[in-house]
Point group: C2
Chain length 142, copies 2
């Protein structure tokens, strides 16, 4: 029987986060000690590892919830799991593409900076003047 602290250490999760996963129903309500403290077993350790690994791969908690449902019903076709992963891959690729544009623009900004005074600073100039924008990365966010 593992305490929540041990579970946290083993999975690289914060204690609070585990309790948070419980409140949103991603982790089950575990057994309790006589004094009311949470006690976990192997199943919970596995489940939490799955969740954490999914998060590291950038899956949303909702996507992970779906994947956990699939994992709980192993006789179904795996096309669903596949399509969740595909969706995720596409998002990752989009993000990479957008970040690469930013990278280029930031580099250009920095290398052009004359290092004299703010008045002639390329960094601020580029931000001021939208027309110098390289491309159409017009969405903001993740």
């Amino acid at each position: 029987m593992l305490t929540i602290g041990t579970l946290a250490k083993r999975t690289g999760t914060k204690v609070q986060t585990i309790r948070y996963y419980e409140t949103i129903g991603l982790m089950p309500e575990p057994e309790r000690s006589l004094g009311g403290q949470r006690r976990y077993g192997q199943a919970e350790l596995d489940r939490l590892s799955f969740v954490r690994h999914g998060r590291q791969l950038g899956f949303s908690l909702e996507a992970i919830r779906e994947l956990l449902n699939l994992a709980d019903n192993p006789s179904q076709p795996c096309a669903d799991a596949d399509s969740i992963a595909q969706r995720q891959l596409k998002q990752v690729e989009d993000r990479i593409a957008r970040l690469q544009v930013l990278q280029l623009e930031l580099k250009r900004m920095i290398s052009d900076c004359t290092h004299h005074s703010v008045a002639e600073c390329r960094v601020l100039e580029v931000l001021r003047d939208h027309s110098e924008c390289l491309t159409d990365h017009d969405q903001i966010g993740a």
Copy 2:
């Protein structure tokens, strides 16, 4: 004199977002019409464009706040602006690197999937088994 709606359209910002920027002190409190509606001028349009452009480049609102302060004091050396941009570039490059690892792992996951049943699905298997992890992308998040 521009209404908030016009300002919103011109900068590709939502009206609510402009008001939000005002509450957090990123945009100034503008003049008002007799009836109490916000009226903006060129200065505010420029400032908001600066903010939006910064956001598109992935700067946090805090970083943008710093950059705006710099822009307001143009006689200072621009090293500060430069270092903010450098910091941003580094973050962008880190994110790209981590996303590329994920991309690889997701691709591997998907291509290995036998498409039979969930029981033999690589996608779920990979998530279950942390040891198959390629690398040390052990932080979560943007």
